[in-house]
Symmetry: none
Subunit: 408 residues, 2 copies
């Protein structure tokens, strides 16, 4: 091992961090043999990705960890999701996240349309048939029941409300302007028009008739939320002098990576995230990428989904299976390895929480501490203490000797 | 020992902090018997002098540790260096750091003129013979190959580039304005005129003829850098109600002390910094000063130089020798003792790094923790946790019961 690393791999175990249930957490229970070895040979700590007590989204937390202050650059989830599914968003576009949902007798009966996954036909119909004068409408499906919507044109605003009723049994919400500008009022009308056009178009589509026959909830409506103006984000390479890549499957993370100037390296299309094999494919791709990139961000998503499902055992199993993907990390030379999570997703609350996440840094020159395991119950004893997400890139850049001296 | 200290001694082991090499650091290896005793009887922690991942200069870090936010008061190294060598700088002056260098056939062949040290004759010639209409030129030698330059007059600006080519084998860089003001353009012209006048004046000087005869590189040029407008810094005594002094040999540190209103107490002239004897002289001076001053800053420089040289053994030896100078500290009554570093200077990178530095506080009323050694591998376990440089003075003032209550 040389004295100073010259590359960085940043592995984000999405939502892996948790609260104790009976004194145990999934990370502590999973037996993360390989990550424990890195923790043991590295420096550890806990991290508030956005700030203490701030419950982060995956978007705001990833921005922060990449060194982009979310309070400056975060303009809603839509822009990032839209870029992630491959829409070539432009500054000033209004972008949204969308769910396919099921509406029966005017009420939303399933906010995810039975976690519908084959939405090609439905998305195609929306793209072709929904029309609003003066506005370009770009619609693209994502994984599962997810999709993205972009409005492009003059006189649009993101100052509008969501149409997602949040709870089943309620009608789709009408979109309202949240300020008094004519742009916001106009955009709310555009969104409401799209909502009702979609209902008319989708319900009778063959794909939905087939689902009904099989007793599955049809994807006959869309819930539109997370309006945001596409921001201007200074490119990663310009900011840090590092050529960076992102390995991820979730559209949101891919979108964040792309908008920050990271090159997206696909590992396969729309893969299933809930098994350890996806992690292995990602890690293989990431280790290969380290030969040509200075910085690789890897996002591994399954633990977050198990957390949202409130399934302790599934989360533990996923993490346990995933650990095998980290076996080769210990052999890396000249690479600063950072392992962390973007937020906690406690199985007890089935949602993100602000509980700090464990973070480890391993590589040449790192001051080893006494922490020998990678989990949120022990990481606080480490030499990093308690940092924030925006500290990660400055600390990492310093460890690979790429910071500029402030003063002399 | 009384219940509350009433004086503070702040000892800065310049650049003493390091990264582990084979699991060891110079501080941990040196066997700091006296500092270990203070650590054992005090409270310990790690400190980001400017901020996590911010690689500090000695100037910005000393400002922060003295409680002056460098983002507010730091205007470039020149002003501090100039004050340090004894130039009576005034608000609005433009000040620079200068190296004596060797130029042969138009190229810089040694950026430090063979670490020339006897520069009295050369500096005198520059002061007397270099002339630019309408501008007062004040030039003063510092230790070794270093010097300071101050321009005083109307219509000057610090928005200009350095002339240091940074690498040998290149010509002296032309100074350029970095903004469009006539002041910046004028100042760049002044600097370029000084550069070329100096070359003409110095090359034939007897001192340089003598060096050439001995096969040494002549100090026949100057590299001008770090332009800064002299800032207004609120005096230490006004800010804290403490009469303060600084004991140091490095011009930069003396300059910072003076500009913050600390009285400079010399221990001898231009002493060699690489042995422990200098530390002993400084500590004797500092302990004597505590009889008449409320606050004494002591800067001990040798470890930083060994770090810049990449010499683990030299750094360890220097620290080991220096520790003897701290023997009498344990006997102090009524004095809050603070020992820290201004930044890490890892031997592995031969430059400053942002790795946090160890800090200990020892004195009446301090909450003792379990840390029994003063080094960067263990300090993180202490009761101070991870603080920043700007926290030092407020914590210290509170421990000597000199803070004002916020609220009632």
């Amino acid at each position: 091992m040389s004295d100073v690393a010259n590359k960085i791999i940043l592995i984000v175990l999405d939502g892996a961090s948790d609260r104790p249930v009976g004194g145990k957490t999934p990370l502590a229970e999973a037996g993360m043999r390989n990550l424990d070895r890195l923790a043991n040979g590295g420096i550890n700590g806990i991290m508030d990705t956005v700030g203490p007590g701030i419950r982060p989204g995956s978007d705001t937390s990833h921005l922060a960890i990449l060194g982009y202050d979310p309070y400056k650059y975060y303009t809603g989830r839509g822009p990032f999701e839209a870029a992630g599914v491959g829409i070539d968003v432009k500054g000033g576009d209004i972008a949204f996240r969308v769910n396919f949902a099921t509406v029966e007798n005017g009420l939303v009966t399933d906010r995810r349309a039975g976690r519908i996954s084959d939405t090609d036909q439905l998305a195609g119909a929306i793209n072709e048939q929904v029309k609003v004068p003066g506005v370009d409408i770009i619609f693209k499906r994502s994984t599962g029941h997810r999709a993205a919507l972009v409005l492009r044109g003059k006189g649009l605003s993101s100052a509008i409300t969501d149409t997602d009723p949040k709870k089943e049994g309620n009608p789709i919400k009408e979109c309202h302007a949240t300020d008094d500008t004519p742009e916001a009022k106009h955009t709310a009308e555009v969104v409401n028009s799209i909502s009702s056009q979609v209902l008319n178009i989708l319900d009778g589509m063959p794909a939905n008739q087939e689902r009904k026959k099989q007793g599955l909830p049809p994807g006959n409506a869309i819930l539109i939320r997370g309006a945001g103006v596409v921001p201007h984000i200074p490119p990663f390479q310009e900011r840090y002098g590092l050529k960076g890549a992102v390995v991820a499957a979730a559209g949101l993370i891919i979108g964040i990576g792309k908008m920050c100037g990271l090159e997206y390296l696909p590992t396969g299309s729309m893969e299933v995230e809930s098994s350890g094999s996806s992690a292995k494919a990602k890690m293989n791709k990431a280790l290969e990428a380290l030969e040509t990139y200075d910085f690789v961000l890897v996002n591994i998503k399954g633990a977050d989904e198990a957390g949202h499902d409130g399934n302790f055992q599934k989360k533990t199993q996923f993490l346990s299976q995933t650990d095998a993907a980290f076996e080769r990390l210990g052999q890396l030379k000249d690479v600063l390895i950072i392992v962390t999570a973007d937020h906690s997703t406690p199985v007890s609350i089935k949602d993100h929480s602000a509980d700090p996440v464990p973070i480890l840094m391993h590589g040449p020159g790192v001051r080893m501490d006494d922490v020998a395991h990678y989990n949120e119950l022990i990481a606080y004893k480490g030499g990093l203490h308690r940092i924030i997400g925006l500290d990660v890139m400055p600390i990492a850049l310093d460890l690979i000797n790429k910071t500029k001296k402030y003063g002399a």
